[in-house]
């Protein structure tokens, strides 16, 4: 087993605002291996995007504080100096963002924007060579008539095409790690499927690691190998895809799973939303962050549950819940599915 590509250890990110200190990321640890797709799942405000951006160093600023480490290829991304990080950005680690409509500069041709990324990391490549490589990349992500389209402007492409351009651009320097932040959220479902196919192919071809940040469990089920579930700045559960979907250990995960719309579900059953609202990250709840919304909370929950493996035979399936394992397996049932019960239906 080779060394992991990325090793994030107890990452914490805080922002100083007018209203106080926001603990956007409060203890996140996970690893990404070569050729592996790790999905980071959570609601808006869970800290998943901040985590992804921090890996690239894009959250650095006068108001930001960091703790913990994120080791990539011998460098700690959290503490590395800006120059070093800049060399990694766009080359060792590349990122694809959420909204393709606004992520490309409208005044430059897309070819030029891809060439820019290539040449900023390798001045020895001539413009012509870089241009050819851009065409090659566009072809690889499935853009038709690449030799013509390389000279087109972003506004001449549809959303799905633009996202492919973004992916092509991200791949231009053969990154070892690709981070995709909600790459399909802004696109419609059919395009989403195509983009996911691209990502799948990528993983096969490149052996690079992929971090997929998303709130859509459907997408996760499609291509993830491992899943990291985040809530209110913390990882609340992580494990392989099967472990998470078939043996989830945290009430929040149950809630997420229960709220997926499923074709095979009985129509008369209502869609289960998780009641309540995500907590403020300025004054988070004491102990377990999910406590206020959890129907099963008890006294111990005012202590922060550590992220550990509580199952005897799977050392990598970690969770943050004080409940006993057998209890969990009982409580997560809602009828014949997995879901989060509401407080009224719980017998305490």
């Amino acid at each position: 087993m080779s060394d992991p590509l990325l090793e994030v250890d107890d990452l914490r990110v805080q922002f100083h605002t007018e209203d106080g200190v926001v603990r956007a990321v409060d203890g996140v640890s996970f690893t990404v291996d070569q050729g592996e797709v790790v999905a980071i799942v959570g609601e808006s405000g869970s800290g998943k995007t901040v985590t992804a951006m921090t890996l690239m160093g894009l959250t650095r600023g006068p108001n930001a504080n960091f703790e913990g480490s994120a080791k990539f290829d011998g460098t700690d991304l959290v503490t590395a100096p800006e120059d070093e990080l800049r060399q990694i950005r766009g080359a060792g680690i590349a990122m694809v963002f959420q909204d393709p409509m606004s992520s490309l500069d409208p005044v430059y041709k897309i070819g030029k924007q891809i060439v820019e990324q290539i040449r900023v990391h390798n001045k020895n490549i001539s413009k012509a060579q870089a241009h050819d490589r851009a065409i090659e990349l566009l072809e690889r992500v499935g853009i038709p008539r690449a030799t013509e389209r390389v000279d087109a402007y972003p506004h001449e492409f549809s959303g799905g095409m633009r996202q492919r351009v973004m992916i092509a651009m991200a791949l231009s320097n053969d990154p070892k790690l690709l981070i995709a932040d909600e790459p399909t959220t802004a696109l419609d479902v059919t395009i989403q499927a195509q983009i996911l196919d691209e990502v799948r192919q990528l993983r096969r071809q490149q052996e690079s690691g992929i971090i997929l940040v998303t709130h859509d469990l459907g997408v996760v089920a499609d291509i993830a190998d491992r899943v990291v579930v985040m809530y209110a700045g913390r990882v609340v559960e992580q494990g392989t895809l099967d472990e998470i979907f078939y043996d989830p250990q945290h009430p929040y995960t149950w809630g997420l799973l229960g709220s997926i719309t499923r074709v095979d579900r009985d129509r008369s059953q209502r869609l289960l939303a998780i009641p309540g609202m995500p907590p403020s990250l300025l004054r988070p709840p004491e102990g377990c962050h999910f406590r206020p919304r959890c129907p099963f909370a008890f006294e111990k929950c005012t202590e922060v549950p550590p992220l550990t493996a509580r199952l005897p035979d799977t050392a990598d399936h970690l969770d943050r819940c004080w409940l006993e394992v057998p209890q969990k397996r009982e409580l997560r049932k809602r009828g014949d599915q997995i879901g989060l019960r509401t407080k009224e239906t719980v017998i305490s």
Binding site: F15, H16, T17, E18, D19, G20, V22, A24, S44, G45, T49, V50, M53, L58, T59, R60, G61, P62, N63, A64, G276, M277, P278, P279, S280, L281, L282, R283, P285, P292, R293
Partner: protein
């Protein structure tokens, strides 16, 4: 050069507004006005200059007090020979050069060409300049809001006509337009106002600035009317007028508030400019504009006659501008840089 000041705060905005307390109570959040007020209160510079402006305003309002009790001379008293005053020995020299600042209660800033007390005139002139500024601003805002809202909300021919008219006024340099209107109205007066009334320049300036406010308001109304809450109101059966008043106007409120200091500052400047060109305040009414003009006519002698009213004018306009800027920063929900330590 780093411009990363904003990459951190965009996340904190998202998180700070993501709920309060433990999450299972509905929060009594701060409304946008209270938030804006808080932001304004923290802007020491804006508050300081706001204070300066208030100070100037008060001083000018107290002009009669100063004239009567401190300087013991009226603003129009021409005192070339300097009888009974602190002018050693005369207030205006034989060669026609008035004395400079004495820094005493009498003729604090010196005298002007006619032997008048500059300090006293400064305050009286300030009253006039500020009065014109306020009236002009009132006129501009009143008509701009009406025209902007009517034009933007009803569209169609009404919009076409109003918009074209606004464009025509707007295309002319403000000063030239002001001169045109000012020169005409100074002679003929307008409605019930006599040509030499102070309100004439106020009306002129008020009209000149209407397009600068009406067009942005119209633009905002155009955007607002397409928004869902207008549809919702219409669905409820509210009449157009009712919708305009209860839904559209409050949203325009912050835009309007931001424009007021801007127009006021420009109005005061325009008054000085028009007076300098002869199309603004007519003699013998004092204003900062007339004082600067008279002073310039004497150049290169007696520079204090130019400097004193000029600095007062700049200070006043500057204070309004800085405060207005602070106001804009406080009201702008997308305030880009909010460093908090």
């Amino acid at each position: 050069m780093t411009a990363t000041a904003s990459t951190g705060t965009e996340f904190s905005d998202e998180f700070a507004s993501a709920g309060f307390g433990e999450g299972d109570q509905v929060p009594a959040g701060l409304g946008p006005w209270r938030l804006a007020w808080r932001r304004l209160r923290r802007n020491k510079t804006a508050l300081f200059f706001g204070g300066v402006f208030i100070l100037i305003l008060v001083l000018c309002l107290l002009a009669p007090v100063y004239s009567h009790s401190v300087a013991h001379i009226s603003p129009a008293a021409e005192n070339i020979a300097g009888q009974g005053n602190n002018c050693p020995p005369t207030c205006v020299s034989v060669t026609g050069i008035p004395i400079g600042p004495t820094w005493t209660s009498s003729y604090f800033f010196g005298a002007d060409r006619n032997g008048r007390d500059v300090a006293v005139r400064l305050l009286y002139g300030g009253r006039n300049s500020l009065e014109i500024g306020f009236v002009a601003t009132l006129i501009t805002m009143f008509f701009a809001i009406i025209l902007g809202v009517l034009s933007g909300y009803f569209r169609g021919i009404l919009d076409g006509v109003i918009n074209r008219a606004l464009d025509v006024i707007w295309a002319f340099p403000a000063v030239l337009l002001g001169v045109a209107l000012g020169a005409t109205l100074a002679v003929s007066g307008i409605l019930f106002l006599h040509g030499t009334s102070l309100l004439v320049p106020a009306v002129v300036i008020g009209i000149v600035y209407i397009p600068y406010v009406a067009k942005p308001i119209r633009g905002q109304v155009l955007v607002l009317r397409e928004r869902e809450f207008i549809d919702a109101a219409r669905q409820q059966g509210l009449s157009s007028w009712r919708i305009m008043f209860t839904e559209v106007m409050p949203n325009l409120a912050s835009t309007i508030i931001v424009f007021v200091p801007l127009i006021l500052a420009n109005a005061i400047l325009l008054e000085a400019a028009l007076t300098y060109l002869g199309a603004g305040v007519q003699p013998p009414n004092p204003s900062w504009g007339t004082m600067i003009s008279d002073g310039i006519a004497q150049l290169p002698a007696a520079f204090h006659d130019v400097l004193v009213p000029g600095i007062m004018l700049v200070l006043t306009v500057l204070s309004i501008n800085i405060f207005g800027d602070g106001l804009r920063d406080a009201l702008d929900p997308r305030a880009k840089v909010r460093i908090a330590r």
